[in-house]
């Protein structure tokens, strides 16, 4: 029954994709895809709830096998949940020209590729799905951007980086298949060299695809230039599917990993969380800012995974399962609010024509539905109660707090540092989204284009409001998902399904009560304040006239933090003034916060790669004689190796 629904849903997406190719088929095709995605969402969450497996089980052999279990069901559910609003949004967002039709068809292909990774039960299907999920967004960007040279270069960067890093995925999966560990035919010995090799290559390969720092450089470039619905799918779902792979390898197939590896994962997570949010703060383009925030949230999820590895290695199986469930719940939550924010950015781009954050303003008044939904998403990603971001961040904090409880001094202090890093990340996220909300939604419009912004058509608004309601629902009743998520751990674990979050050793989070009390007290205080007879007054600027030049900018608002972190971030700034006869005529200011990882790590690596290429070219002389010498040398080396017993 569930399997039939899943197949029907995926079939509908395929048919919808084919319809998009037809001349007048774009709207119908997208509508059919939306219905299909809804079917996938229902089937996925149903599989999660019923904890039954469908189809084949995992196997290390290379014969194609397809199937679904609880963990796949969860991610299929996320895929459907995000694809429905993204596709509904596309109905009016994509223009019915050849480009729009191609993007519509490719979106279907993208969704199917993501589903293939989730349903693949053998190494080959998994890897085929993995590669297509990397390639299809590249095609979408190339198609939608046409002849844009910079976009082409970005796509090249994206493909090069994800393939270089992605090699780790191949190594990890093929080593696991070779050892027969996929599907649990054999278990990999804890602490063995093979186990560590698999874990490290999976962390590098799948971490690159997930956008973990310092392997993230492709993400803030590739996500923003895709069309908004595809950005939403990339940031909301694709990088989560990479984490699906990571969870499978690190927590299931690769056996019980040692404590130090868990601490390494914690360090990577904390670095991504802090780095992502800090660079997001100094970003001026809304979509790039959101992409940097994806890195932050991936970091939070990786913190949960790391806590789970450490706690499992320490034998605290119950809290290891809670930590994993916290990470998975944050996957769902981040998918929902990040899709909401990317689609909202798409709506603002349509209305204003720019996403330069200092050129928007006042959109809450001009676009009450889109703006209101965006505000809910911003509060959710900032981790404010009673919305969904708070629930999963609370769970992750609790999980990290249990690392010192079960550990010794080394990993305990590492856990405490990760805890402090996550708290600082949450505060930075509040900072960043106050800035976004303020500059985009509040105050007076900063440009004539923003002042003339119009609310977007119904399907786009409906998609945004649907996701905002999902933020509220997941914030009020996170326990409904959390219970089944605890059961997904590969070791025996179970937790009762409730509305709120009630864990032993914590003060519990009765989310329904929190939401009710906060709303009731807010309404009560508003009533108590009574009829708000307010006197209009000019803005206080120490007596001088308020003029647009006094408007605050993104750079101004974040300046205190930039100064505090000066030693770490090395911001650059330049002020030049022109004076005529001792009278100041003009002041020019420019400043930016360089991305240190790119400048200090990737640029030198790039230069070295080019230099190495120059040397390597000397081997290619072009004369046949040289190549014959190479071949003879190779044969000789192989013969010597066989003689010495190195191979064979």
């Amino acid at each position: 029954m569930t399997g039939a629904l899943l197949v029907a849903g995926l079939g509908a997406i395929a048919i919808g994709g084919a319809l998009c190719v037809l001349r007048r088929g774009l709207s119908i095709g997208l509508a059919v895809q939306t219905v299909g995605a809804a079917g996938v969402a229902v089937a996925g969450f149903w599989t999660l709830g019923s904890s039954a497996s469908l189809g084949d089980g995992f196997s290390s052999s290379f014969a194609p096998r397809l199937g679904v279990d609880g963990l796949s069901g969860l991610f299929l559910g996320i895929l459907g949940l995000i694809a429905v609003p993204a596709l509904a949004f596309s109905v009016r967002y994509l223009r019915p020209g050849p480009n729009g039709r191609a993007v519509g068809a490719l979106t279907a292909l993208f969704v199917l590729a993501l589903a293939l990774v989730l349903c693949g039960r053998d190494p080959l299907t998994f890897l085929v799905g993995w590669e297509s999920m990397t390639l299809i967004p590249a095609v979408v960007i190339l198609v939608s951007r046409g002849a844009d040279r910079r976009a082409r270069r970005t796509v090249f960067n994206y493909l090069a980086l994800t393939h270089l890093g992605g090699a780790g995925t191949w190594v990890a999966i093929l080593l696991l298949a070779h050892a027969g560990a996929i599907g649990g035919q054999t278990t990999i010995a804890s602490g063995s060299g093979l186990q560590i090799a698999i874990a490290l290559s999976a962390l590098a390969g799948m971490g690159t695809k997930a956008g973990v720092m310092p392997l993230h450089v492709w993400l803030p470039r590739a996500h923003p230039i895709a069309p908004a619905p595809v950005s939403a799918l990339m940031s909301g779902v694709m990088i989560k599917v990479a984490l699906y792979g990571l969870v499978r390898v690190l927590l299931d197939w690769d056996g019980v990993l040692p404590v130090w590896f868990g601490v390494l994962v914690l360090a990577v997570g904390a670095f991504s969380a802090l780095g992502g949010v800090v660079y997001a703060l100094f970003e001026h383009d809304l979509k790039r800012l959101l992409a940097m925030h994806s890195i932050e949230n991936i970091g939070i999820i990786v913190l949960g995974i790391g806590a789970s590895i450490v706690l499992r290695a320490r034998g605290a199986d119950m809290w290891a399962a809670f930590a994993l469930a916290a990470a998975l719940l944050h996957c769902v939550n981040h998918a929902v609010f990040k899709a909401l924010l990317f689609l909202g950015a798409g709506a603002f781009e349509r209305a204003v024509g720019s996403l330069e954050i200092d050129r928007l303003g006042g959109l809450l008044r001009r676009m009450p539905w889109s703006g209101g939904a965006f505000l809910v998403g911003a509060a959710a990603i900032a981790g404010l109660p009673p919305l969904n971001g708070f629930a999963s961040e609370w769970l992750t904090l609790q999980a990290l707090l249990h690392v010192p409880r079960y550990g010794n001094v080394g990993d305990g202090v590492a856990g405490a540092l990760a805890l402090a890093a996550l708290a600082a990340t949450a505060a930075l996220a509040v900072f960043c989204f106050v800035k976004v909300v303020g500059l985009v939604l509040l105050g007076a419009p900063r440009t004539p284009a923003a002042a003339a912004a119009e609310e977007q058509p119904l399907p786009m608004r409906a998609a945004l409001v649907f996701l905002a309601l999902a933020c509220v629902a997941l914030g009020v009743a996170p326990g409904v998902l959390f219970g089944p998520l605890v059961g997904l751990a590969p070791w025996p674990s179970a937790h009762a399904t409730q509305l709120g979050l009630h864990l032993p050793g914590t003060g519990s989070l009765p989310t329904v009560g929190i939401a009710l009390v906060l709303v009731a007290v807010t309404i009560g205080l508003a009533l108590l304040r009574g009829n708000r007879r307010a006197a209009p007054a000019p803005n206080w600027a120490s007596g001088q006239l308020v003029e647009p030049a006094l408007n605050w900018t993104s750079a101004g608002f974040t300046k205190p933090l930039r100064l505090v972190l000066e030693l770490v971030l090395r911001p650059q700034r330049e002020i030049s003034s022109r004076t005529v006869g001792g009278v100041l005529q003009q002041v020019a200011y420019s400043g930016n916060v360089p991305h240190l990882i790119e400048d200090r790590l990737y640029r030198p690596a790039e230069r070295m790669a080019f230099r190495a290429a120059v040397h390597a070219r000397r081997l290619q002389t072009g004369s046949v004689g040289t190549y014959v010498v190479y071949l003879i040398a190779l044969v000789l080396v192989l013969l010597v190796a066989v003689r010495l017993g190195v191979i064979g």
């Binding site: 809450l364 109660p385 609370w394 010192p404 106050v434 519990s508 933090l561």
Partner: protein, 308 residues
């Protein structure tokens, strides 16, 4: 519900809502005395709230719904926080539970609301205060959670009732963990209450404002809510200091009896600190808080070493 937990609930709710303004009043009163002035009575905050309640509110040009909603949301978040922080080891849940980390979430909600309101009114001084407040909050929050982690590890739970019970008595002080946590929490108290050397609550110069900055345009009942919220912040961190990070006895009745005995000297201590120390350069405050965070980390290491 037993008599003890009924009384402790009454103290928690009424104390948090009604007595909270007395705490900053006491600090101001003693501070004036220490500076050789007679100063206002400790009841001055109540007089100001009454005066503000009768005045009309002000809507600056261009301000929108978020500006009007923010004071209510701030007050509601702080009222929620008052319901979360118990004054003794036994209390009913009051709908919100008693989790320590929820307190951080509610304070973040209040910060988000008031900082967004600064953008809505687009007042440069409000935004200056908000951006400084948000910058410092990064370091405050990290230190706060580490201090709470020390208490949670010592008592084995993050339920604040359990934390109050688990840190009671003399036994827990044999390990240096809780003492180091208390040192770290002292920095949090000063930062969260917005007092010198972090912030100057008496300043009338817009350029030096942190917590006061975003309040600049507000008047009337809006301002009354915001000033009450600032007082409630004093109540929350000082109650936590008294019932968790200072030695306190077992048993609800004794804990309730000890509360005023601890709160009054804590206010006096704040007054003394504020008299002795000048306001720091804002860019140096993170270093101050880093000292607090380091103390808490040492406390956690000490706890693990002691538990092993």
């Amino acid at each position: 519900m037993s008599a003890a937990s009924a009384v402790s609930t009454a103290v928690q709710v009424l104390g948090g809502i009604v007595l909270a303004p007395l705490l900053p009043g006491l600090v101001q009163h003693w501070k004036a005395r220490l500076q050789g002035r007679r100063g206002p009575t400790p009841l001055q905050p109540y007089r100001e709230l009454r005066r503000l309640w009768g005045k009309s509110m002000v809507d600056p040009e261009g301000s929108g719904p978020i500006y009007r909603l923010a004071p209510v949301v701030v007050a509601a978040a702080l009222a929620g926080a008052v319901l979360v922080v118990p004054v003794a080891q036994s209390a009913p849940t009051l709908g919100l539970g008693h989790d320590a980390l929820l307190l951080l979430g509610l304070l973040a909600l209040a910060r988000f609301a008031i900082a967004s309101a600064s953008w809505d009114v687009s007042n440069g001084f409000s935004l200056m205060g908000a951006s400084r407040d948000l910058t410092l909050s990064v370091f405050v929050e990290a230190t706060f959670i580490l201090a709470l982690a020390v208490a949670a590890l010592t008592s084995g739970t993050t339920d604040l009732r359990g934390v109050v019970a688990g840190t009671a008595g003399i036994g827990v002080w044999k390990s240096p963990a809780l003492a180091l946590g208390a040192v770290s929490f002292a920095f949090v108290v000063i930062a969260e209450t917005g007092r010198q050397p972090v912030d100057n609550p008496d300043t009338h110069l817009e350029l030096t404002m942190i917590h006061e900055g975003p309040l600049l345009e507000y008047a009337g009942r809006d301002l009354a809510y915001l000033q009450w919220a600032a007082a409630a912040r004093h109540w929350l961190v000082l109650v936590l200091a008294a019932e968790v990070f200072l030695p306190h006895p077992h048993g609800v009745w004794l804990q309730l009896a000890v509360l005023p005995v601890a709160l009054v000297p804590l206010c006096a201590a704040l007054a003394i600190v504020e008299t002795i120390l000048a306001k720091m350069r804002i860019l140096l405050v993170p270093r101050l808080l880093a000292v607090g965070a380091a103390a808490a980390l040492l406390g956690i290491a000490a706890w693990i070493a002691g538990a092993a």
